[in-house]
Symmetry: C2
Subunit: 126 residues, 2 copies
């Protein structure tokens, strides 16, 4: 009896982005050790928050993202990344809808230490 070979499939970011429309609502696309790769669409202003336990990586796949800090800001365009250090207060914002890939430990909550239940998203796989 032959055993079937496993099928290895790449994860295509653009195809995954077509699968959801909701803003500020991260979707998990891959796991590496105890980290998740997540896709998220931003438009408008998020809330100030920080992640006391972890750095957080933003990679812009399409569009433009600004991340405000209490003492400055960084503007990220397609093909650019930035690591927000652990504990640093930040506020993502985008004039136009942008497409972002996040890399962060499993269970990292989008609103971090903020108490905004309204903006807190439950991560889900797509």
């Amino acid at each position: 009896m032959k055993t079937k070979s496993p099928v290895y499939k790449p994860i295509n970011l653009n195809e995954k982005f077509l699968k959801f429309k909701e803003l500020w609502s991260p979707r998990i696309i891959a796991q590496m050790n105890d980290y998740h790769f997540k896709l998220v669409k931003f438009q408008g202003d998020f809330i100030w928050h920080s992640h006391p336990e972890t750095d957080e990586t933003f990679i812009v796949v399409q569009g433009e993202l600004r991340i405000d800090f209490r003492d400055g800001a960084v503007i990220l365009k397609s093909g650019e990344l930035f690591v927000v250090p652990k504990g640093k207060e930040h506020k993502p914002c985008a004039k136009q809808e942008c497409q972002i890939m996040l890399v962060e430990p499993i269970g990292t909550v989008n609103t971090g230490n903020s108490v905004s239940a309204e903006r807190t998203a439950k991560d889900q796989w797509i």
Copy 2:
């Protein structure tokens, strides 16, 4: 006395890729917790190896990459990613030069468990 605000700069992948030409020689561009983001250029065949301690993420920025496994293969194009599981033997190869971003724990050696000193690269920041 005014204190100077810090300058926050995005990391631009294309600009970083222009800074080196060597194949199979990862360059570190960012750190997130105890992980590194690395850029690498592949062309031709690498050697069979595995990383017994960690998963390894490949993200294709430009070109096309094939990763061979003992029981199959995956082909990745620009905008696609794949996580090679911990301990899984693999061999990256590329007909034409391709540009890859790797995400893996600090200190992960490009040749993994292989004994090929010739192909083992010393990671360096750019």
